[in-house]
């Protein structure tokens, strides 16, 4: 196998997905779906990992000493030390740059997936998948990935005992969700014709 076809095989879907995304972004409704879903997922993620919580009516900002090195300290597989505490009255936010970055990455992927799924539902012919329900299947990985952020929290809420296998599964959940989301994104974008989309 030569290198060129492999690069093309990997690169083509990415370029195509980029084009679809750029074209779709011109549509206000798609942009709205993307923005709302991304923001909603990010907030949910931050609440689930404990970085965003109800406030105590106080207002203020606290920064740890040596925030740059502290920000690199891990508190979990995909969570990091918070370096700034922001009290905004009703809301308390612990800003951990690493955790926020992971959350943002997942959120953008979920947002893109659901924006593309929205296209599939609204314009199934453009997506070339025939029916809206088939297009909506692409939302499944996005929904499944919801467990990535709040899996361990569920154990406490539901009172479920953690087994070694379950804990290992939780460790792998965020990376797995990211891979699934990227795969789903490429899959659904492949079926969208950017030219037909701009004409729709």
């Amino acid at each position: 196998m030569s290198g060129a076809p492999l690069v093309a095989r990997v690169g083509r879907p990415i370029v195509h997905t980029w084009r679809v995304g750029r074209t779709a972004a011109r549509r206000r409704d798609v942009g709205l779906v993307f923005g709302l879903v991304t923001l909603g997922y990010l907030l949910t993620y931050l609440v689930a990992v404990g970085d965003l919580a109800p406030g105590r009516g106080e207002v203020g900002v606290t920064v740890v000493a040596d925030p740059l090195s502290r920000a690199l300290e891990r508190t979990g597989v995909t969570t990091f030390e918070p370096v700034v505490l922001v009290d905004l009255g009703a809301v308390r936010y612990l800003f951990a740059p690493g955790t926020a970055l992971v959350g943002l990455l997942l959120s953008v992927l979920v947002g893109l997936n659901l924006a593309f799924t929205y296209l599939a539902v609204r314009l199934p012919r453009t997506c070339g998948v025939g029916t809206a329900s088939a297009g909506a299947l692409a939302a499944v990985p996005a929904l499944l990935s919801g467990a990535a952020c709040c899996g361990p929290v569920l154990l406490l809420v539901l009172g479920v005992q953690a087994s070694g296998l379950l804990l290992t599964a939780f460790d792998a959940l965020v990376p797995l969700a990211a891979v699934l989301l990227v795969g789903a994104l490429l899959f659904v974008a492949r079926r969208v014709d950017p030219a037909a989309l701009s004409a729709a």
Binding site: T75, G76, P82, Q161, L167
Partner: protein, 373 residues
Amino acid sequence: MQLSRRRVLLGTAALAGCLGRPESSAGGAAVDGTSSRAATGTSGATTSPRAADGPPLSGTGLPVEWELETLREAVVAGGPPKDGIPSIDDPQFSSAAAADDRLAPDDVVFGLVRGDDVRAYPQYVMVWHEICNDVVGGDRVSVTYCPLTGTAMGFERGATTFGVSGSLVNNNLIMYDRASDSRWPQVLATAIEGPFAGRSLREFRLDWTTWERWRTAHPETRVLTESTGYVRDYGRDPYGSYNPPGGYYTSEFTLFERLYRDDRRPTKAVVLCSRTPDGRVAFALDALRSEAVGGGEVGETPYVAVYDAALDTGYVYRNPEGVEFAPVDGAVEGPEGRSYPTAALPLDRQYAFEGMWFAWAGFYPSTEVYGRV
């Protein structure tokens, strides 16, 4: 994994009783007349520890009822990596008056008195750090708290510090010392892995009580603040609540598997537990609260537990002569009508700490237990 009693090793050390501190543990004793054995088990140690580098060790090993290999096999990753739950290494303290602003009267604190130095470590801060490496009364100590087993225990640390390994056994915090990286389950106070495997720490009592009670008993106390070097959502307990009691702390489930299931008491019932020279014993704290004085036998030796209403805690005494004690007005009346403070009966006081029943019974399946919940 439910380990059977067949895998239990009643490993104990010879009676020490030589540390000279009534509230410090003095090591274990031979059990049931079986041959005494230090808790070395299958140590897995490959190098000789340099005692000067590590934490101060107990002269004799504390009793361990499981083979170390069995304990190592039961270790699970708790989620956070090593130091993912950061210990407090530069603790800051405030006056009691300043602490009134952030502590409610019924909030849980862990009290420590060493000489003239009196300190309180609020549970709401410790739940995020589990270990506070401190210097109290001129002594380098570690104040430790495991939320999942409800145990607060003090250890001498020497020149080293302790950190949170991220692993658990029987749901209990496994500490590591930063000199040798040996692994020390908190309740056992004995290393199960690393150069110090089989060796035990010097431990001392912390009083699990409430802020109002501690402040009344010790108005001069200093109180650990939220200036820990880390930012956390202090005030929110990720596991539940003690004020009012709820969540994990009162539920029947454990987050991870336990070493051994013993249904003689409810899972999370709080017991006052002690590794005595005659064996292990637990007194249900609720029963002690209502009866003020409780008794029982360990092996064939009588023991007495008394309730301290001022701090809502209890003390365990070896009572080989079976002397009768009765509660009177916050104190205890002994022979010939003499009155004694609950913390100073004319008997050999044993190191005792409070914990959840499942945790104590899991580590020490041979334990006697007294007092109905």
